[in-house]
């Protein structure tokens, strides 16, 4: 089954004035993604915007895949205006994925902002005792509240302004949690904005906490050919589209 397909828009639901959930029909027999994998989407036949845009698989079944998207510029604006029945170009699943936990682990799933799109599926797809740490600017920027309520595990919400949950960053809250509970075997799965990643990396290295972080970089080809999407790691330049987007914290 080819990874390059035309896909029909099943629905496109606004969550806020910037964020929306786009559901695409998967062609029969398509590969299912794994948590952390992404697709490259292209919705126009014109040359502006030109390149495909990468988005994490947020939720999926055998028949469809959902993307949780935040409008940023031209590319995401086109996606936001799609209607049911429209057809777009879909390439994926692409990239590596969060390695499933081995044995009896506490899963610490850490999401900042739209980063929730990349890690949310871990709660459903991987077995284990999971805790979700989810942070955003304020309570109205915390998305998919209904899905989060439906999740049976522990949820820790954080906001910068304290409008709901812990007032402060997810990384600060994670530190408190670890200090209180000192879980014996824990693994972190994280995705979020640059500042959160930097703080988390520092914290994890300090404490020796193990885990994986999903990174973002602008992409052109999405298939490992152009060398455009690299990040500098302790093992040299790595392509986010092929060797990533998920990296073990040790190499970052």
């Amino acid at each position: 089954m080819s990874r390059l397909n035309r896909a029909e828009v099943l629905n496109n639901i606004p969550l806020t004035d910037r964020e929306f959930i786009l559901r695409l029909k998967l062609p029969p027999g398509s590969l299912s993604p794994m948590p952390g994998q992404f697709y490259l989407l292209r919705a126009t036949n014109t040359f502006d915007p030109l390149l495909r845009r990468p988005f994490s698989a947020f939720r999926w079944s055998d028949e469809w895949v959902d993307f949780l998207i935040s409008e940023k510029g031209k590319g995401t604006l086109v996606l936001k205006s799609l209607r049911p029945g429209d057809e777009i170009d879909l390439l994926g699943p692409a990239g590596n994925y969060f390695p499933p936990p081995s044995g009896d682990m506490k899963l610490l799933v850490v999401a900042g902002g739209i980063g929730i799109a990349s890690v949310f599926s871990i709660l459903r797809e991987y077995n284990g005792d999971s805790v979700l740490f989810y942070g955003a600017r304020s309570s109205d920027a915390l998305l998919i509240r209904k899905d989060i309520e439906d999740f049976s595990g522990e949820v820790v919400l954080c906001t910068d302004d304290g409008s709901i949950g812990f007032k402060g960053s997810v990384v600060e809250r994670l530190r408190l949690y670890i200090n209180e509970r000192t879980p014996e075997k824990a693994i972190v799965y994280a995705c979020g904005p640059e500042a959160m990643i930097t703080a988390l990396k520092t914290y994890m290295k300090e404490t020796g906490l193990r885990g994986y972080i999903s990174l973002e970089e602008r992409m052109a080809c999405g298939v490992g050919a152009c060398m455009g999407c690299v990040k500098n790691t302790s093992e040299g330049m790595k392509r986010v589209c092929i060797e990533g987007p998920v990296f073990p914290v040790e190499v970052l």
């Binding site: 990874r3 999407c229 330049m237």
Partner: protein, 306 residues
């Protein structure tokens, strides 16, 4: 219908190849394209030693185009010969290897090592991105001439192609030098040095500040340059720069290109090469053209006016 073209000693079953740096080492696109159907595969520029390339961010999209400052990250000669070339040799297609160096000696060593093992060697004399050890060979005509002359001595069995930069002071005099020094062909155009700024942070969009512009935005410049060079020299031209469709490719061909290379379009649609090939065939059928070569330089123009 005959689509065969000849570039130096290299016979291509059709005039479609890939632009260096946009098709990896072929393998990355084998999932989408039957490499046997390409006239040639042109691979990412190879240097003697592996290169790390520039610090990210390396790419930025601009209207109908993109900037890149990859900085020629590549696996290096040895790994290319051991790991990448054998794979490509498994296909019934030509292999064109783009080479780059910081000194003439480095180019010569690359040419020696590749001569006879690949169908063609394409000299990248014009990449604007390399800071380290990289004089822009294209910016000094005496050095440019010496480079081609020295490399030519060492390329005996493979076809030698020189890739020209649109930012050279005179692309026509460079084309003449290529012909005089015995290059078999010219490929053009490389990316155009360009820049974009994030006005909020006041910082450049690329960490290298300047990058190369590619994509449909540059096509009319490429077509114009191919036409001018075609009028000036007799060696064949591989035309490239913003080709997205068969129609775009045919513009280059009518302007004087013998073959065409698909670059940035591979990123937009990984099957572009096959669509362009099919579109050229359709055009020939519709216009009852039996032999592709009759289209090359077939522009109808009037010396006085148009």
């Amino acid at each position: 219908m005959n689509l065969t073209v000849k570039i130096g000693k290299m016979v291509m079953k059709n005039p479609v190849t890939t632009a260096s740096g946009t098709f990896g080492y072929g393998q990355e696109y084998a999932e989408f394209v039957d490499l046997n159907c390409l006239g040639a595969v042109t691979v990412k520029g190879i240097s003697r030693e592996p290169r790390q390339g520039n610090t990210p961010p390396r790419i930025f999209e601009t209207p109908c185009g993109m900037l890149n400052s990859i900085g020629l990250q590549n696996v290096g000669l040895e790994a290319f010969l051991k790991e990448k070339l054998p794979y490509l040799r498994g296909f019934d297609t030509n292999v064109i290897v783009n080479i780059l160096g910081g000194t003439i000696k480095e180019y010569i060593e690359l040419a020696e090592a590749l001569d006879g093992r690949v169908d063609a060697i394409e000299l990248n004399v014009s990449c604007p991105n390399v800071k380290k050890g990289g004089i822009l060979f294209s910016s000094d005509e005496a050095i440019f001439r010496e480079l081609i002359r020295e490399v030519r001595k060492n390329v005996v069995n493979s076809t030698l192609i020189v890739k020209l930069s649109p930012s050279a002071s005179s692309i026509l005099s460079q084309a003449r030098i290529c012909e005089e020094e015995g290059a078999d062909a010219i490929s053009m155009i490389n990316t155009i040095p360009a820049m974009a700024i994030d006005i909020e942070s006041r910082r450049p969009r690329l960490s290298n500040i300047i990058g190369g512009l590619s994509g449909p935005a540059i096509r009319p410049i490429g077509v114009r340059m191919v036409w001018e060079v075609h009028k000036t020299v007799r060696i064949p031209i591989i035309g490239m720069g913003g080709i997205m469709t068969a129609g775009d490719a045919l513009e280059y061909i009518l302007a004087g290109a013998t073959a065409v290379a698909i670059g940035t379009a591979n990123f937009v649609d990984p099957t572009t090469t096959m669509k362009v090939l099919k579109g050229i065939e359709d055009y020939m059928r519709n216009h009852e053209i039996e032999d592709f070569s009759s289209l090359i330089g077939g522009l109808i123009w009037d010396r006085e006016g148009r």
